[in-house]
């Protein structure tokens, strides 16, 4: 590892409270929850999506399906990648046309991932609306994209790394800011 932890910005309870707050915002804004579907962007967007779906079920007793989106094939930097990214499956087993899609990712940074995700969604169907939820908005946008629901806005410098860890795959719930120790 050639990076050190600079700050621990969220712990498990902060993450839980912020997901709960965003869930109530989602419920408030989407009067017809039956038309809502969740699409999580690989990898951590999936788990945030599943947690939001669970929270909506607890509060409103509505089952919101969760799909999985892999954006590898839609990356705009595909021809410049030094290492090849393994393509993984997109698993959206329900129609998305005319649906209100809640797109979910862990960190919003340049906006390019979201651009790729939206392109990918439109190849699968024609949603009525797309809303965006992110746990962390760290700024530095390169495209005109903004999130509808933000867990936490985090001013960062470009060289810092924001790392979201979730119990489902990382054994712990926390958000860290890492700083590279040596310039490569």
């Amino acid at each position: 590892m050639d990076e050190k932890i600079k700050a621990r910005v969220m712990d498990a309870s902060k993450i839980r409270r912020s997901l709960l707050r965003m869930t109530t915002e989602i419920i408030e804004r989407n009067r017809n929850l039956n038309n809502l579907i969740i699409v999580g962007i690989r990898t951590r967007g999936i788990y945030i999506g599943k947690r939001i779906s669970q929270l909506i079920k607890e509060i409103e007793n509505v089952e919101i399906p969760v799909g999985v989106l892999d954006i590898t094939l839609y990356r705009d930097d595909f021809a410049e990648l030094e290492t090849q990214h393994m393509v993984q499956k997109t698993e959206i087993d329900f129609p998305i046309s005319k649906k209100d899609v809640l797109l979910i990712d862990d960190v919003l940074f340049t906006g390019r991932t979201i651009r790729a995700a939206m392109d990918s969604l439109f190849d699968i169907g024609r949603p009525q609306t797309i809303q965006l939820l992110v746990l962390i908005d760290r700024g530095h946008r390169e495209l005109p994209i903004r999130a509808d629901y933000v867990g936490k806005s985090l001013p960062t410098s470009r060289r810092e790394i924001v790392q979201v860890q979730l119990k489902e795959i990382d054994d712990t719930d926390e958000v860290l800011i890492l700083e590279p120790t040596a310039l490569k």
């Binding site: 094939l73 290492t83 090849q84 499956k89």
Partner: protein, 312 residues
């Protein structure tokens, strides 16, 4: 996990890990072919040339669809309508096409080793789509991929390959890939089309189909190349049919869940009866469907990303 090859010339150059990478990638590409919009923008701006010096419908159209579903542009070249009939050599044909800056050449040629020869002097990625009686690597990859979707593991799997082994590049590539994956392969055919030398490939050679079919998990029938029949490799089609045609009775000798494969084109009533070819255990059309996903995976793995350091 990383695929470090510049070309796909034969199965022999691939490691079991490379093969696993192709399979995992193809798993993801299968889903794209089932979408309403069967296209992703990944290889936009790349040019691929289908260079077919031998006739083909399945392989050529499969590669063409694979390239199109990845948004690459594809140029189809066939021998009949080209300057090859005016006497242009393979090298000159390739050099002229390369002058137009393609990114990949997909080559089928009647001479064994032609793609290897081309890979030696050209800049593009070269994919072997069948060379003489040497190899047909994408066919073997899609065959093994199809087996993998039906059987839990290749370990201890008994695969019986039946027919004209001598002339079959499909058989050779399958022998190599099945060995790398740990399956047990049994070759069956008339002695004229299945010389004893094949035992060097660490496979069993059997001249009795009924005997070989016992406990078989996979039965792969090969096409009898009728165009070669004038050389009399067997006395008559009727005799071949009596001894080696896969009939309903014969398939009863294999395991209950055995699958039936054929790389196509089928001679119905010669190597396989229509009844068996169209039965529920036949995965022949599934092979065709999987072929597109496997070829998309190959194109993606070879052409994707920056020009990387490669091992070949």
């Amino acid at each position: 996990m990383e695929f470090k090859h510049k070309h796909l010339l034969d199965i022999q150059a691939l490691s079991p890990e490379d093969i696993a990478t192709v399979f995992e990638t193809a798993d993801s590409f299968l889903e794209i072919s089932s979408r309403e919009v069967k296209k992703v923008p990944t290889l936009r701006g790349k040019t691929i040339v289908n260079l077919f010096f031998e006739p083909s419908t399945r392989t050529r159209s499969s590669f063409e669809l694979a390239a199109k579903r990845l948004s690459a542009d594809i140029l189809n070249f066939s021998k009949q309508s080209s300057s090859v009939v005016k006497g242009e050599t393979l090298k000159d044909t390739v050099l002229n096409l390369e002058a137009m800056n393609p990114d990949a050449l997909i080559i089928r040629h009647a001479s064994s080793g032609a793609p290897h020869y081309v890979a030696g002097f050209c800049r593009s990625h070269v994919i072997n789509a069948g060379d003489g009686s040497h190899e047909h690597p994408t066919q073997a990859l899609l065959d093994a991929f199809t087996i993998r979707r039906h059987k839990k593991s290749f370990e201890n799997l008994k695969v019986v390959i039946v027919g004209d082994i001598l002339h079959s590049r499909v058989a050779r590539s399958n022998i190599f890939i099945l060995r790398k994956l740990g399956a047990k392969t049994v070759l069956v055919g008339p002695p004229t089309l299945l010389p004893q030398e094949f035992t060097k490939f660490e496979v069993e050679v059997d001249y009795d189909l009924d005997h070989a079919l016992k406990d078989a998990d996979v039965v792969m029938m090969l096409r009898i190349q009728l165009e070669r029949q004038q050389k009399s490799f067997f006395p008559s089609l009727r005799e071949y049919r009596n001894l080696f045609c896969l009939t309903k009775e014969r398939i009863g000798l294999a395991k209950k869940d055995a699958i039936i494969m054929h790389p196509g084109p089928i001679n119905r009533g010669v190597e396989i009866t229509a009844e068996v070819a169209d039965s529920a255990r036949s995965v022949i059309l599934e092979q065709v469907e999987n072929g597109v996903a496997v070829r998309m995976a190959i194109l993606y793995l070879l052409l994707g990303g920056k020009d990387r350091e490669t091992t070949d």
